[in-house]
């Protein structure tokens, strides 16, 4: 899949911008606050109907204006025209595919797969287990509807069970224990599906990450992803372990009125040459790992979905030395089409560029080609 063209009206700093993209690498260059990242934001918006940062639609509207619009032309086997229009007066968003209004956002999701690397990715390697679960869940969910359904079912079970635990805590009513047993059983059944899917994913994804890391770094560093569930490393007999763990936590769960055991507390430990990245990794190793994770996500989704995702890289070269930057730009050639923002022209002078690559300059919301 390729994105050939976008047009932005009153989209943040862009009053009216039209860009024709290259099917290869598109370098988007400009100073801070000039509207580079906004272009990636708009592409992401067209692919998913959502904003990747959590800012509301009303904030995307250009200052003093009342509406924004973004149009994109994708080509795959056929050409697809996608348009988003938002009016702050109606506080409503309209989404059109080939000039036909789409009422269910869910029918768009997965149609234009997208992978985005942002400076916010530091939370994946440096943040909490919750950040890593969110990252992993989003990849598996994109590839498998069955997984997404189990995840929603599990989260609902957690909410019911927490409510029940709180009732027991407040009333001390022992007759509620029978219900708790049933909800625990439900938690184990659905949770076990998540554990088995995550383990299977972690094993497979490890290969993708090693491959990506090897290309960006030297072969001397080997990355690992280890799946931790139910307070320890994964082993085969997780159902029985889940049951025992719940039993041992029972009193504490009631005392705190919270779910204390299950895959909602899983973690994925990243390591390099057997050493824990979070504890021992340098800033450069963290950044390299984050980049490798997104490349791995790209190739994983490409293979699972049989469709090439749009690859967006926001300020990827900022914290990396020139050697690694060059390797990444070489690696990007295997991706096909990608969109890369950069603050400095000096960054690009180091990179190997092909004839088909495009340089897009952005200054104060205006676009020119370099």
């Amino acid at each position: 899949m390729r994105l050939n063209y976008i047009k932005l009206n009153n989209f943040r700093i862009h009053k009216s911008s039209e860009i024709n993209f290259s099917g290869h690498l598109n370098y988007i260059i400009g100073g801070n606050g000039q509207g580079k990242t906004t272009i990636l934001e708009a592409v992401y918006y067209l692919c998913t109907t959502k904003n990747y940062s959590s800012s509301p639609d009303s904030e995307i509207v250009r200052f003093t204006e009342k509406e924004f619009e973004a149009t994109g032309l994708f080509s795959d086997l056929t050409e697809n025209k996608v348009r988003v229009y938002y009016s702050s007066e109606q506080n409503k968003k309209y989404y059109f595919q080939n000039d036909k209004q789409i009422y269910r956002a869910a029918s768009i999701i997965g149609l234009f797969p997208v992978v985005i690397l942002t400076p916010g990715d530091h939370s994946i390697t440096q943040g909490s287990p919750g950040d890593r679960r969110k990252f992993i869940d989003s990849i598996i969910s994109q590839a498998s509807d069955t997984y997404l359904n189990y995840l929603l079912d599990y989260n609902k079970t957690l909410r019911h069970r927490a409510s029940l635990l709180n009732q027991i805590k407040e009333t001390g009513n022992r007759s509620l224990f029978g219900q708790l047993d049933a909800w625990s059983e439900k938690l184990i059944i659905t949770g076990s599906e998540l554990i088995s899917a995550r383990e299977k994913f972690a094993v497979g994804f490890n290969g993708y990450v090693s491959e990506s890391y090897k290309i960006i770094m030297d072969e001397s560093e080997i990355p690992q992803i280890e799946y931790y569930t139910l307070e320890g490393k994964y082993d085969g007999d997780y159902k029985e372990r889940f049951r025992k763990l719940l039993e041992s936590k029972r009193n504490e769960e009631i005392r705190r009125g919270a779910n204390l055991a299950g895959p909602h507390r899983d973690d994925f430990i990243f390591g390099i040459n057997g050493k824990n990245l979070k504890t021992y990794g340098s800033q450069g190793q963290h950044k390299t790992f984050q980049v490798a994770l997104r490349f791995a996500q790209f190739f994983y989704l490409k293979e699972k979905k049989g469709k090439t995702p749009v690859f967006l890289l926001d300020d990827v070269f900022g914290e990396l030395d020139s050697k690694r930057s060059v390797r990444i730009s070489e690696y990007l050639k295997l991706v096909g089409q990608a969109f890369i923002t950069m603050t400095d022209f000096s960054d690009i002078s180091n990179l190997t560029r092909e004839e088909d690559d495009l340089i897009i300059k952005v200054a104060n919301g205006a676009v020119s080609y370099g």
Partner: protein, 198 residues
């Protein structure tokens, strides 16, 4: 715009019914206006009968004309099997299949700690009582395959098994006569995981 008051009243009452909007209500009201008085009378008496003559069966809590419903009174039905459902509408759905000749038990809902539905607000005690006094050998749990329905099934299974009654759950999978390509991914995914030997 002026509409005769009786007509307006009929439209408003009709539009309170589920899945009836104002336009449909208007069409229905005008249709009734044009109909013979006999036809209208038989409709109103059918509706009044519904409220006056029907109640819930004292044994299975299905809809019934008498204190005990026809299914529970019918001696041809297999008294060793009870099918547990959420609502009376589920009884109608299963009866239509003609595949089940046992008895029913309508729970009146499913467990939901979030919305405050506990076992006491469902007809669970009544079910257990039936299992003790009757010659029941099997209980089929036919609750909806959602989060609450599954948790309720697990809860019931734990209560019923110690009594020495077999507990089964209805199977889930692809609709009969449907095309594989039109089923949603989650259903197909689970059907593949829960495949059976031939």
């Amino acid at each position: 715009m002026q509409i005769a008051q009786p007509l307006q009243l009929a439209i408003e009452e009709l539009s309170k019914l589920p899945s009836i909007g104002t336009k449909t209500a208007q069409r229905l009201a005008l249709f009734l206006l044009k109909s013979d008085i006999d036809k209208v009378n038989s409709l109103t008496s059918a509706i009044t009968n519904l409220k006056e003559k029907l109640r819930f069966c004292s044994i299975c809590f299905n809809i019934s004309e008498e204190d005990v419903c026809e299914v529970c009174l019918n001696h041809k039905r297999d008294r060793s099997i009870i099918c547990v459902v959420e609502e009376a509408s589920d009884v109608i759905a299963i009866e239509k299949t003609n595949e089940f000749s046992g008895l029913y038990h309508v729970l009146g809902g499913v467990l939901s700690p979030l919305s405050g539905v506990d076992p006491n607000s469902l007809k669970i005690k009544e079910l257990l009582k039936r299992l003790e006094s009757e010659e029941v050998k099997e209980v089929i749990l036919a609750l909806n395959p959602d989060t609450e329905g599954e948790a309720t099934s697990l809860y019931l299974a734990k209560l019923i098994k110690p009594i020495g009654v077999q507990v089964t759950r209805i199977a889930r999978g692809l609709p009969i006569g449907g095309n594989l390509e039109f089923a949603d991914e989650a259903t197909i995914g689970r059907a593949v995981i829960n495949r059976i030997n031939l």
